[in-house]
C-alpha cells in the first residue's frame, strides 16, 4: 500500500496507525512563524471505533490502509458468519460477529449494505438508513389511543427492540431508522 505524506492528508483518507486501519476525520497544520511545521490529525480507528489525536512532522509519511467500501446484498446468517453477495458479480463474502457487531439486528435479506473491507476482509457492516421489519412481540395497545404518549417496546423479527406507538400490533411491518434506532412508520 502506498505511503501518504502529511500534505496528502485530508478527511476520509485511510491510514495505518498502531497496527490498525484508521480514517482521518480532521487535519490541521500547526506552525510557528519561524519554526518547524506539524500536522495534527484526528483519526477514527476502524476496528475499535476509538477517536484519537495524532501529530506528525510536516513532510513525514505514514502507511496507507487498504480500506474500501463495497455495496453488497445480505443473504443469510449461519449463526457464525453473515453472508453477503455482490449483485453484479455474484461473488460472496462472509463477515464475522466482530464486523457485524450490533448492526446484526438491522440485517434484512436482500437489503443492500455497505461493507468496509480491510485487505479484502470485512471489518464493518453498515445497514441501509431505513429497514422494514416485522413485529413479533409487543403488548396489545389500548384501543382508541392514537396519539401515543410514550409508546411501548416492540420486539422485531431480528431481535431488535424499538419503541412504537401504542396502536402498532404484532404481525405488522414497520419502518425503522437504523442510525437512531427509532420507529418511523407502519408499512402497508
Amino acid at each position: 500500500m502506498a505511503n501518504f505524506s502529511t500534505n496528502e492528508f485530508k478527511s476520509g483518507l485511510k491510514i495505518m496507525q498502531d497496527g490498525e486501519p484508521c480514517v482521518i476525520l480532521e487535519n490541521e497544520m500547526v506552525k510557528p512563524g519561524k519554526g518547524q511545521a506539524f500536522s495534527r490529525v484526528r483519526i477514527r480507528k476502524l476496528l475499535s471505533g476509538k477517536v484519537v489525536e495524532k501529530t506528525f512532522k510536516s513532510g513525514d509519511s505514514v502507511e496507507g490502509a487498504d480500506v474500501v467500501d463495497v455495496e453488497l446484498a445480505y443473504l443469510y446468517s449461519d449463526g457464525e458468519f453473515w453472508h453477503f453477495m455482490n449483485n453484479e458479480s455474484f461473488e460472496q463474502i462472509a463477515a464475522d460477529d466482530a464486523a457485524v457487531g450490533d448492526n446484526k439486528k438491522w440485517l434484512v435479506e436482500q437489503d443492500v449494505c455497505t461493507i468496509t473491507l480491510w485487505n479484502g476482509k470485512p471489518i464493518n457492516v453498515a445497514p441501509p438508513n431505513f429497514v422494514e421489519l416485522e413485529i413479533t412481540e409487543t403488548d396489545p395497545g389500548l384501543k382508541g389511543d392514537t396519539a401515543g404518549t410514550g409508546g411501548k417496546p416492540a420486539t422485531l423479527v431480528t431481535g431488535a427492540v424499538v419503541r412504537v406507538p401504542l396502536f402498532v400490533q404484532i404481525g405488522e411491518v414497520i419502518k425503522v431508522d437504523t442510525r437512531s434506532g427509532e420507529y418511523v412508520s407502519r408499512v402497508k
Binding site: M29, V30, R40, K54
Partner: protein, 325 residues
C-alpha cells in the same frame, strides 16, 4: 447556474473592519512621524530560513532575455533594511507576503503583514510601541511580558536554555500525545518549537496579550545576541488568545555575522535535502555600509483582524483564501 463558489468567504462586516483597522494603523504611525513605504514583492533572493519556503516565479523582458528566478518575499524585511541603511528614518509598510506550504485555519499562503522599523529603539522600546498599537486596534488590555525561559518554566517546568533539557522535554511531549511527531534525533529547537505551539501558545496570553522575549540564541533569526547572556537573543513574539501575532528583533546590524547565519542556514538546508537559497547580496551590502541601530517587528494583520471580529478561521477575514483564489 454555476455551482462554483465565487463569492467571498469573508462577510462584509469583516471586509469593512479590515479597512477601519488599516486606517487606525496608518493614523497611529502618521501621529508618530513614521513614513509609509513600499518595497518589491519579487526579488532575486528569498530567505534562507530552513522553515520558511519562498514561492518562486520566473520573469523575462527587455534586458532579461533569459527567464530569471524571482522570489516572492516572505516579509519585506530585507528591502526595508536597505531603506534604513540608505537613511530613511523610521518606516512602516502594509503589504502582502507569500509563504509556500502554509495552509490551515490560521495560515493562508499569501497574507497581509504590517512591518515597521524604529532607529534608536531597542526591543523593549519597540514592544512598548506594539503594545500601544494592539490596544488601539483590539481595544484590549495592556500586554504582559514573559521571557522565553519564564514561559517554559511556568508552563512545563523546563528550562529551555539548559542544553540538558532535551530528554525531559522529549518525555513530556511523548506523554502528552506527541510521540509520533518527535524522536531523540530531533534538535532541542525542534522540540521547543513544538512545545511552544501545542503546549504553551494555547495557555499564555488568554486574558491579555502576552509578549515572549529573549528567544534562545539558536532561534535568533535576524536578532542580535544578548551581551548580558549569550544564550539568548533580542527576539520577541506576541501571542494573544492562542494566536501568534507578531515577531520582532533588535536587529542584527553586523554584515559578517549575517552572512555567517545565511551560510549556516544553507548548510542545514543541504543536510535536510532542501534547496540551497541564493543569499541576498543587496541586503549584505546595505548592512556593510551601515544599518542604523534599530528594532523592527512584523505583525500578521489577518490574525489581528480575526481577533477584532472574533473569527476562528482565517477564511472568515479573507475575501478569497487560497481554496477559492
Amino acid at each position: 447556474m454555476s455551482s462554483i463558489e465565487w463569492r467571498p468567504t469573508a462577510g462584509w462586516q469583516a471586509i469593512k473592519e479590515r479597512a477601519e483597522m488599516q486606517q487606525c494603523i496608518r493614523a497611529f504611525f502618521a501621529k508618530r512621524d513614521v513614513l509609509e513605504v513600499e518595497t518589491p514583492i519579487l526579488a532575486r533572493a528569498g530567505v534562507t530560513d530552513v522553515h520558511l519556503h519562498n514561492a518562486v516565479t520566473r520573469l523575462q523582458g527587455p534586458g532579461m532575455p533569459q527567464p530569471q528566478n524571482f522570489y516572492l518575499q516572505t516579509s519585506p524585511e530585507y528591502a526595508m533594511k536597505r531603506l534604513l541603511a540608505a537613511g530613511s528614518g523610521p518606516i512602516f509598510q502594509i503589504c502582502k507576503v507569500v509563504r509556500d506550504d502554509e495552509i490551515s485555519r490560521r495560515h493562508n499562503p499569501e497574507f497581509s503583514m504590517l512591518e515597521w522599523y524604529r532607529p534608536g529603539f531597542d526591543d523593549y522600546a519597540l514592544m512598548a510601541e506594539l503594545n500601544l498599537l494592539i490596544q488601539q486596534v483590539l481595544g484590549c488590555e495592556s500586554a504582559e511580558c514573559l521571557t522565553y525561559q519564564q514561559a517554559f518554566i511556568q508552563t512545563l517546568n523546563i528550562d529551555p536554555l539548559d542544553i540538558a533539557a532535551k530528554p525531559n522535554l522529549l518525555s513530556i511531549l511523548q506523554k502528552q500525545g506527541f510521540a509520533d511527531a518527535v524522536s531523540e534525533s530531533d534538535s532541542l529547537d525542534t522540540l521547543l518549537q513544538l512545545a511552544m505551539s501545542v503546549l504553551i501558545e494555547p495557555v499564555i496570553g488568554q486574558q491579555r496579550p502576552c509578549f515572549v522575549s529573549h528567544f534562545p540564541a539558536s532561534q535568533a533569526a535576524l536578532a542580535r545576541i544578548s551581551k548580558q547572556d549569550m544564550r539568548v537573543s533580542h527576539r520577541f513574539e506576541l501571542f494573544y488568545k492562542g494566536l501568534e501575532l507578531a515577531n520582532g528583533f533588535w536587529e542584527l546590524a553586523d554584515a559578517e555575522q549575517q552572512r555567517q547565519r545565511f551560510r549556516d542556514d544553507n548548510r542545514q538546508r543541504k543536510a535536510m535535502g532542501l534547496p540551497v537559497q541564493p543569499i541576498d547580496e543587496h541586503l549584505l551590502a546595505a548592512l556593510a555600509s551601515g544599518l542604523p541601530d534599530c528594532s523592527g517587528v512584523a505583525v500578521g494583520l489577518d490574525r489581528l483582524l480575526m481577533l477584532r471580529v472574533g473569527a476562528t478561521d482565517i477564511a472568515e477575514v479573507l475575501t478569497f483564501p487560497v481554496g477559492s483564489a
